[in-house]
Every structure is written in structure tokens, then in C-alpha cells.
């Protein structure tokens, strides 16, 4: 069995979300990924909870760990006089470089694509930032936690009678890596055919807007500004999250066609299901306030899990609104082996998300827990880049690895 990226070397200069998640796609399918960090200015996620045992520590964040497994960890102080030269050696060694600094930062360090391509013409470099490498706002610093609002998702999340509420965390940070990973894989294939490397410019805003393309067209064609609508849907009713027995328990449910409505009506078995107003999607959409109230009157007498089984058995799309706790014991995710439990030197045994897909011959895996800060300096700089022991000791003494 071959591994797709067995021969691919990646240097990951990026930080926080998009870049590190993108690099994981390569690492999960066999690439050798070297994550470059600063010990002087530790990466934000190393400082962000959750921490093992609720004790903060640079090597204790589960947030950082989940995005950086399958990577070797090195430290370089790029502001040290010897830092950029070492980074350049890594870029010369690599097939793929990923960076997510504010545009201009890499150029200021002498590490622009143009300069790196001179030492490594076959290099594929992905630069990703909030708004792209060019344009008047290229150099505006930013994070996904705010960009998600500019990209249109916050306006579309919440209730129409209230102010919008941002979808949890840095939602656009989940979109850009999928598209970036696809582009890198295509660029690797293109390089194998043409011998040519290239620079990829992944704007997290432009990537995010791809996921609102239908809403964009509704505006550019029909002049309609899409609006948040709780859990309602333009095409289907009933459609929502309905209360079940217990504290804050909900089932999500959607009826997309008449057979599903009939299946739901049969499962409910109450007289209101026969109400002529609820036969056919137009009637249900028109009367959905009442429909939702009646339906919730029924769902609230059920345990969510039991109700999901019953409705799915009847042929109605339905699913429990799972908590983070429940996700860890979800029967489907367990069957899929979604979580990989690895022993981390400081965190202990903990769960990493595995790939979202299985390849039948080369399924992908999680082989290595996230690196400690600078854990693999000697292995990478001496073992892989070929620095002599003296050079490595001199670098250590110089502070360039801080």
C-alpha cells in the first residue's frame, strides 16, 4: 500500500486555524510536515483553552493539539538575524510551504514566494490570510473569529426578531482549508506533469463566500438580501429544532416531501396531522407557527434519542442536537473510527479528529500527537536538513531557535 503524500515534504509557517488545518490534510495522508513556531511569541492556540487538567501550559492546549497532530515541531525566531536563513533552508527542502502571516511579513523577512522560488523553483507555496495577498486591504490583520461576520455568516445566524449572533468560533476557518487542500493537491499533480511550482493566494473571505453562493445570486439576480430565520427553511416545513424531554434537549427535523410528511403524521398519530392546511408544503409553510407549536407539543414528550430512532425508522429526516459530550460516544462516529486516541507527553491520552473521509486503499491516519514546542528541532535541523552538530549547537546558543 502506498501513501498518497509519502514523498511530500511540507513546511508549515502558519498559525492559528486555516494554515495548520490545511497542513493536516497533507499530514493525514502521509506527508512529512514540519510546523515552524516561535518560542518567543508562542502561537495563539497554545495559549487558548482547553488545557489538560485546566492547567495552562504551552504544551497543554487541546485546541492547538487537534490541528497539529501528524507534524514535527520546530522553533525558529524569524526576527533573529539567523532565523530567516534557517527558514529558507527549510523552504529549499520542502515541496510545499504554507504561511498565514499578514501579507508583507514574509517579504520583510526575505521569505517571499519570489525569493523562495529562487532557491527552490518547484516550491508550491500557499499564502492564506483574511482578505488575500493583493488589494487595498491585503495588509489588514485579522482572524477568522471576526472575518466570519464580514463574510456574511453572522447576519444569517440567529432569529429575525433579534440581533444576529455569530455562529460558534471561527467558522470560515473550517471552509478555507478544504479548498486550499484541494488546490495544493492539484498543484502537486500539476508540478509532476509540468515541473513547475507556484504561488497560491487563498483569501479566507473569498473562500467563505463560496458557501453563500446561492444567497449571493439571490441578491445579484433578484435583489433579495438573505435574512436569518431561526431554523426555518424557504422550501420545507416543518423544519426546525424541537424540544424533547429533559434539560435543553432538542431534535432537528425536516420534512422535504409528502411521503416524509405522511411518515411523520403516522408517527405522531394525533388528529391535527389530518388538518387540511398541513397537506402539501405550501400550506405547511404558510401555517408553520401553528404546525411548529403542535409538533413541539408532541416531541416534548419524547426522549430525543428514542425519537430520532423512531422517526428515522419511519423515514423522516431527524437527528438529535448532539452536545460535545455526546459527540464522543456518537454510535456512527464510533463506527467510523472518527476519533483517534493518542498519548501526548503532557496532555495524556486524548482524542484527535481523524480525516472526514476514507480512501479505500490509503485511508489516512493520525500517527503522531501534536508536537511539544520545539520538540523536533534536532531531528529536523540535523537529521533532515543536514546541519552538523556544531552548526546546531551554535544555532541553539545564538537564540535563533527561541
Amino acid at each position: 500500500m502506498t501513501v498518497p503524500f509519502a514523498d511530500i515534504k511540507v513546511v508549515d509557517f502558519s498559525w492559528v486555524g486555516v494554515g495548520p488545518i490545511t497542513a493536516r490534510y497533507l499530514g493525514d495522508f502521509g506527508a512529512t510536515v514540519v510546523r515552524v513556531e516561535s518560542a518567543t511569541r508562542p502561537e495563539t492556540l497554545r495559549l487558548t483553552p482547553p488545557f489538560a487538567g485546566e492547567q495552562p501550559g504551552l504544551n497543554r492546549s487541546g485546541y492547538f493539539a487537534n490541528y497539529n497532530c501528524n507534524k514535527l515541531g520546530v522553533t525558529i525566531n524569524l526576527k533573529h538575524t539567523l532565523g530567516p536563513a534557517l527558514a529558507r533552508r527549510l523552504a529549499a527542502w520542502a515541496d510545499v510551504a504554507i504561511e498565514s502571516f499578514t501579507p508583507g511579513t514574509m517579504a520583510d523577512l526575505g521569505l517571499s514566494y519570489h525569493e523562495l522560488a529562487q532557491v527552490n523553483p518547484g516550491l508550491i507555496m500557499l499564502s492564506t490570510c483574511n482578505q488575500g495577498q493583493t488589494g487595498p486591504r491585503a495588509s489588514q490583520p485579522g482572524f477568522g473569529t471576526q472575518l466570519v461576520s464580514h463574510a456574511g455568516f453572522t447576519w444569517l445566524t440567529g432569529w429575525p426578531d433579534r440581533t444576529p449572533t455569530q455562529p460558534y468560533a471561527a467558522y470560515t476557518d473550517l471552509i478555507a482549508p478544504k479548498l486550499g487542500a484541494a488546490a495544493i493537491a492539484a498543484a502537486l499533480d500539476y508540478r509532476r506533469r509540468s515541473g513547475r511550482g507556484q504561488h497560491l493566494d487563498l483569501s479566507q473571505l473569498e473562500a467563505g463566500i463560496q458557501f453563500l453562493a446561492a444567497q449571493v445570486l439571490d441578491y445579484t439576480v433578484n435583489g433579495r438580501v438573505a435574512m436569518r430565520q431561526g431554523n426555518r427553511d424557504d422550501n420545507w416545513a416543518p423544519h426546525g429544532a424541537y424540544r424533547c424531554q429533559g434539560q435543553d434537549r432538542f431534535i432537528a427535523l425536516a420534512v422535504t416531501c409528502e411521503p416524509e410528511w405522511q411518515a411523520l403524521a403516522q408517527a405522531v398519530g394525533e388528529p391535527w396531522c389530518d388538518d387540511a392546511r398541513f397537506q402539501g408544503a405550501p400550506g405547511r409553510l404558510q401555517h408553520q407557527d401553528e404546525l411548529d407549536r403542535l409538533l413541539e407539543g408532541w416531541t416534548s414528550r419524547w426522549q430525543a434519542e428514542e425519537l430520532m430512532l423512531r422517526l428515522q425508522h419511519a423515514g423522516v429526516p431527524a437527528g438529535v442536537v448532539r452536545s460535545p459530550e455526546e459527540i464522543h460516544s456518537d454510535p456512527q462516529l464510533s463506527h467510523r473510527g472518527h476519533f483517534w486516541y493518542l498519548q501526548h507527553p503532557e496532555i495524556g491520552r486524548h482524542a484527535y479528529d481523524g480525516p472526514a473521509f476514507r480512501l479505500s486503499r490509503t485511508p489516512g491516519d493520525v500517527r503522531m500527537p501534536a508536537p511539544l514546542l520545539g520538540q523536533h528541532n534536532e531531528q529536523v535541523f540535523v537529521g533532515m536538513l543536514g546541519l552538523s552538530d556544531q552548526e546546531f549547537v551554535a544555532l541553539l546558543a545564538s537564540g535563533a531557535l527561541e
Binding site: P49, P50, Q131, Q133, G135, F143, Q146, L147, T154, T157, G158, R162, T163, T165, Y168, A169, Y171, D173, L174, K178, L179, G180, A181, A183, A185, D189, R196, L200, S203, A207, Q210, F211, L212, A213, A214, Q215, V216, L217, D218, V221, A226, R228, Q229, N231, D234, N235, A241, F250, A252, G319, R322, S323, P324, I327, Q332, A351, A356, F357, L359, S360
Partner: protein, 424 residues
């Protein structure tokens, strides 16, 4: 060098030598679209009456019609389109002939459906050992939920993301624009190209099994490991966010005059400059409390601050923002390098200066409608090739002649017979 506009000496797209057949319905159609944007020849294969997802709105000029679905346009632009009834034996035989000439097949039927038609991976591989078959389903090909029905909201619920979204005093919400199968579709594209890269050296295709539920798992970000490491279920909290420090919450959506903005109070090595920038601006307008102006933002550790201290910072900021519109705040934030964005609508995005400067919006001519429609542009810019839209979405069966005659070499009579038999 800037990876920007296309130029004549660059190939149309990196994947131009390759072909994909796209058998998906609404779920997963983005997968083929991504390959098409990267230059592949993607052929949408629809039943004789058209893909059922053509029935979903919004519609061009609000007229429901299978040739006017904007949600379908969005996912199927850049593809060619043919009709083919897989339920018929002649249709399946034609599909196998196309599979011989293709590099990828994308499909989103319920698990087992292709195999039941005699078109399972083993059969497809028998005619084309190099084939990458990509199956996109809500929960994957096997397991207790493999046969479950799921729409967007059901996948959002079972992935855990929905639990974290919305106001605390109301039910959890999904994003009011379907997302789950876009994640699955984008992951399907990445997975297909990973398998492709391997196939180009091994000569062997494989079967890619994408689960929308798993594609969404990453959206929980730190909330998922919060349970794993600390046995804490973070809760949805409307405009606030918990989980950035133990036991406190911070505001992330800020109401202001005529709208809202996104901002976060920050401190420490990566956050102090942001806060000082905001406070200097507040001070110019007499709105900065001395305690905040004199705070040592470099040393201040948000993770250790009690809620009262965070509130004492956020309250004057909230009052300051309330005096300004999102546009004013964004304009000043850009000048002062403060990390703040407006809560944008789709209308706001179309007015955005940065997107305009990068020529993001792409106008696509739709000859059948006699209109030119404005689409989101390329998802990435590449220095070696063009990514983006080259053709409008196909009408039903638009490329039947081109594909069946031009490429499979069927005669006029054969094509007519297939049409009469309802195969195409």
C-alpha cells in the same frame, strides 16, 4: 509576482487533462464544481427530467422552473450536462462507456444504491482500474446511521455544531443558508485530488467515502476538545463566546448604530496593539476610561481575568460602538489596524472595496436566459493557472450531442432511439 489575473501563457486550469462525471444531486454537487473551477472537464449526469435539486429555490426572477434554480446554478456552473437514466440497462451501459473515459465519478446516492444498479465500485473499477469514485453521503457508507435520511439541519445537529449556535434562551440554530453538504462537497474535492495524486503514481484508483457529519466536526473547534480534556460542555451564548478562558465569556457580536460589528477584546503579545489602537481612537472622542488607557495591555492575561474585569473593559467599548455605524467603525478600524469587521449582508459584500479591487465578482453569460449573472469568483488565485468560472451551468441535456456523438461516437439514429426509449 502576484498570483492574480489569468494570462495567455497559462493553461486554462491545472486539471484540464482530466474528466469527472458528476452524478450527485443537491448533496455534494460542490465537489465537482471545485474540480471544474480548477480546470477539469466535469460532466453533470442527470436523470431525463433533470436533477431533483433543480426544484430548490431561490429561482431566477422568483419563477420556479428547473432551468431557473439559483441554488442549482451556484453548484453546477462550469459543468457540462447530459441526461442519462441509470434505472435502465441501456443507460447503465452508456454510463460504463463514459466511466472508461473518465478520471473521477462523484455520486451522492444513498449507500448501496449504485451497487444495486450493478454500478458499484468493483464494477466501475473493472472498466477503469484508474477510476477515483467519490461517494458523498450524510454519514458515510457504513455504520448504524448509514441508512439515515439527513438534510442540512439534521447533519448540523448530529455533528454537534448546532448545539453551539444561537441565543441561550431559544433553541439552537443552524446557519440560515444550508452548509452541511457544502462542507462535504469541498472535502470530497480535496479527497478526490489526494486519491488522484496517488493514482497518478500507482496507476490504481480507489473509492473515497465522504461523510458530511465528519466534514462538520472541525467546526466545533475548541468546544469538542473542551469536553475531551475538561468534561465541560460549552453552551451557545448568543453574541458572547465562552471557552476562550476558563469560566468567563467575551462579547464577539457588538450592536452598534444601525447594525452590528465583530470585535474581540484582546491583550498580551499578539493582542495588545489591537486594544491600544481602539483606545487611542476612543480617547480622541473622549470615550476612553482612564483605567483602560493606562492598563498594561502587554502584561494583561485575559485567560486569568475574572468576568467583572472583562465586563469593565467591554462596557465602555459597547457604548462607544453604539455611537457609530458599522461602516464608520470599519473605516476607522482599517486606518488604525484594529481587528474589527462589519456584520455584512450579501448586499454589503457586493459593495466591498477589497473584493472589487481583486475583481472577485464574476459575470457569467446565460444565453438561455438572455441575461448575465454575477457569481462569486475564484476560491483561490494561482500563479500557474486560472481558477474560476468559464461556462454557465448546463441546461437539462445541453451537451447530449456533444458527449454522446462527439465523444462516444453514437450515430444520429442511436441517439434518437435512446431518447425515444427515455434513456437520455
Amino acid at each position: 509576482m502576484s498570483p492574480d489575473a489569468p494570462s495567455p501563457d497559462r493553461p486554462e486550469g491545472m486539471l484540464s487533462p482530466f474528466r469527472a462525471l458528476d452524478l450527485t444531486d443537491g448533496a455534494g454537487a460542490l465537489g465537482g464544481r471545485v474540480l471544474a473551477d480548477l480546470g477539469a472537464d466535469v460532466i453533470k449526469v442527470e436523470p431525463a427530467g433533470g436533477d431533483s435539486a433543480r426544484g430548490l429555490g431561490p429561482f431566477y426572477q422568483d419563477q420556479p422552473h428547473p432551468e431557473r434554480s439559483l441554488s442549482w446554478f451556484a453548484l453546477n456552473a462550469n459543468k457540462r450536462g447530459i441526461t442519462l437514466e441509470l434505472a435502465s440497462g441501456a443507460g447503465r451501459a452508456l454510463l460504463l462507456r463514459l466511466v472508461e473515459r473518465s478520471d473521477f465519478v462523484f455520486e451522492s446516492f444513498p449507500p448501496g444504491a449504485l451497487a444495486a444498479w450493478g454500478l458499484g465500485f468493483d464494477r466501475l473499477r473493472a472498466v477503469n482500474p484508474r477510476l477515483v469514485l467519490v461517494s458523498i453521503t450524510p454519514f458515510g457508507q457504513t455504520g448504524p446511521y448509514a441508512g439515515y435520511r439527513a438534510t442540512d439541519i439534521v447533519a448540523m445537529a448530529l455533528s454537534g455544531y448546532m448545539y453551539l449556535c444561537g441565543d441561550a434562551d431559544r433553541p439552537p440554530v443552524r446557519i440560515s443558508a444550508p452548509q452541511a453538504f457544502l462542507h462535504a462537497g469541498a472535502d470530497a474535492a480535496a479527497a478526490a485530488l489526494i486519491a488522484h495524486y496517488e493514482r497518478q503514481s500507482s496507476g490504481q484508483g480507489q473509492w473515497v467515502d465522504v461523510s458530511a457529519q465528519e466534514s462538520l466536526m472541525g467546526a466545533m473547534m475548541n468546544a469538542r476538545p473542551f469536553w475531551d480534556l475538561n468534561q465541560v460542555n460549552l453552551q451557545r451564548s448568543g453574541p458572547l463566546r465562552s471557552g476562550l478562558a476558563n469560566a468567563t465569556h467575551r462579547r464577539q457580536t457588538w450592536p452598534c448604530r444601525e447594525g452590528s460589528v465583530a470585535f474581540a477584546v484582546t491583550a498580551g503579545p499578539t493582542g495588545a496593539r489591537n486594544m491600544r489602537g481602539l483606545l487611542a481612537w476612543m480617547a480622541e472622542e473622549g470615550a476612553a476610561p482612564p483605567a483602560l488607557l493606562h492598563k498594561d495591555w502587554d502584561a494583561f492575561d485575559m485567560a486569568l481575568a475574572p468576568q467583572a474585569e472583562i465586563d469593565a473593559i467591554e462596557d465602555p467599548v459597547l457604548a462607544f460602538f453604539a455611537r457609530h455605524t458599522p461602516a464608520e467603525l470599519f473605516h476607522q478600524a482599517l486606518k488604525r489596524r484594529v481587528i474589527l469587521y462589519p456584520v455584512s449582508t450579501t448586499a454589503d459584500l457586493l459593495q466591498d472595496g477589497q473584493l472589487a479591487a481583486r475583481a472577485f465578482w464574476t459575470r457569467v453569460e446565460h444565453p438561455a436566459l438572455g441575461a448575465t449573472l454575477t457569481y462569486p469568483g475564484p476560491f483561490i488565485r494561482m500563479s500557474e493557472a486560472t481558477c474560476g468560472l468559464r461556462r454557465p451551468p448546463p441546461s437539462i441535456g445541453q451537451h447530449n450531442h456533444e458527449v454522446y456523438q462527439g465523444e462516444l461516437g453514437l450515430s444520429d439514429a442511436e441517439l434518437r432511439a435512446l431518447a425515444e426509449a427515455g434513456v437520455i
